[in-house]
Symmetry: C2
Subunit: 307 residues, 2 copies
């Protein structure tokens, strides 16, 4: 868990952090969370605080502030984080989902700055999505929109653990890169990855596959090409659906954009509708790990300022 | 081509129509189009006219009013319909794409009334899409958004004539129903469709397949089930991406919703993320053939009223 003071120019001050230790359960996490917030609050001095913004993983209703089955937070399903926060503080409080808030932060302060229509995708353990449409964060009727990672791109493909068939997340996340490489190694394909992983194939992950691909390993390059193909399919869908000004890619796998971009662009130029061919919408996220923190602050400023 | 007077309560008066005869070319169509508009204008009497709205098939930039390769209108690519219209009339003019405007009309006057987030899909020759998000029509950065029909749902599937792979349109339009049935008949499968089409398999279309399916024909039911499966995949994607309040289905194939809905609902309950299962978002369009006319009027009123 991280907290900090953030001003309207997106400057971060007095950052603090503490371990979440989610396994200990909600009743153990909340006091530590509150302590973290109070520590940061005490540093504000004369500048004043205009609100408290919180960025959470997983689906959350931004109006009611109720969490829906957040991954890695057992026991938090149905908890109204917003109501709880409002009981602790006299300032306005605002809560949001991590990918939505990263999108907002990139739009206000990062790689999407100056653009009205920004689609954000984080390529990490999963594939999260956030939408800025006509200048505003779009979260849908109940606040669960922008789950672009759970878009089916291969309806005869493998079923992900959450039940979604052939999803972008299952085929093009950082996790997918490692999984696909390990599956192909298990089938006996030759690769420098066998040495890179020290003989323990189970240790092969996306970073290792990217490293091997850059060094020219055929299997690793083929895995990255396949993931770029799936990611390209998803990006073409995003173009057709949103006609965005930019698509901001974040998350660990975005550090391998050099390996993925040619395959993505090939998909755009071959399989997009004619009026989208030649588009080069992809930019790398600019805010990295601070996107959630800055997005939570931006949400508060938007609420307070009525924007 | 159709034209009419429309008031703020969506009442249609003095409807007129004339043949487009697009083959004759733009220079032959435009005078007939202008004559149609002038005929309707002359009926306005003392009520006054506050603007001219036009609904066009195919991609159109709603700001510049430039058409992009409209299907079935050879020679119109790059033509600024809006500039031309503005030269003919002193009122404000507004132009839009047929599916976008149908979405706007259903939102203002039809099946999406009272909802802030409406996704409209027309299931017809193709699959068109329109988006009302947070109460406003969304058309994207260059006005080409909402091409939901060209979303890839099967990235190893057949390539549509426009280059898009395994698109919702190619797998779940009215055209798709006829094509899939004809392909299976050509492979020798038995079906009552052989009698229904009077022995000419090439005449089999979606209406015929629906009729045979309702009468219990196994092949026809199987074709409709397959299309419902693909349509369900697309609808699940729409839920994940937009979390809409309603999904309005229009077009000829929406007359077969009785045959398609069970398969769509099965997809939602099996393959949507947990927080979307059990959703029943689908409603049939209420405005039918008047959707484009009413949407063009709604666009004018929105422009004039600043909403």
């Amino acid at each position: 868990m991280r907290a900090a003071l953030v001003d309207r120019e997106s400057r971060i001050a007095h950052p603090e952090r503490t371990s979440t230790d989610a396994k200990a359960g909600r009743d153990a996490v909340l006091p530590r969370f509150l302590d973290l917030l109070k520590r940061v609050e005490s540093k504000a001095g004369d500048d004043g605080i205009c609100g408290v913004g919180v960025c959470m993983p997983g689906p959350i209703d931004p109006v009611s502030g109720v969490l829906y089955n957040p991954p890695n937070l057992p026991g938090w399903d149905g908890f109204s984080l917003k109501s709880w926060l409002q009981e602790q503080f006299d300032y306005p409080v605002a809560v949001g989902n991590d990918a939505n808030l990263a999108a907002l932060a990139e739009h206000r302060y990062g790689a999407g700055r100056g653009h009205d229509n920004v689609v954000y995708l984080t390529l990490s353990t999963g594939v999260g999505g956030g939408l800025i449409l006509d200048g505003k964060m779009y979260v849908g009727g109940k606040g669960y929109a922008a789950e672009i990672g759970h878009m089916t791109i291969d309806q005869h493909g493998p079923v992900a653990p959450n039940g979604v068939v052939g999803s972008l997340e299952y085929l093009a996340s950082g996790t997918a890169v490692g999984r696909i490489a390990r599956e192909r190694l298990a089938q006996g394909e030759e690769s420098a990855l066998r040495d890179l992983c020290g003989g323990d194939v189970e240790k092969v992950d996306a970073a290792m596959v990217s490293e091997a691909a850059r060094a020219g390993d055929a299997l690793a390059k083929s895995v990255m090409d396949g993931v770029a193909h799936s990611l390209g399919t998803g990006i073409v869908n995003v173009l057709h659906i949103f006609d965005p000004d930019v698509i901001v890619l974040g998350g660990g796998l975005s550090n391998s954009l050099d390996l993925l971009t040619p395959g993505i662009e090939r998909q755009i130029d071959t399989h997009a509708m004619a009026n989208f061919r030649g588009r080069r919408p992809i930019v790398k996220s600019a805010l990295g790990d601070d996107a959630g923190l800055l997005g939570a602050a931006a949400l508060v400023f938007a609420d307070v300022d009525g924007g």
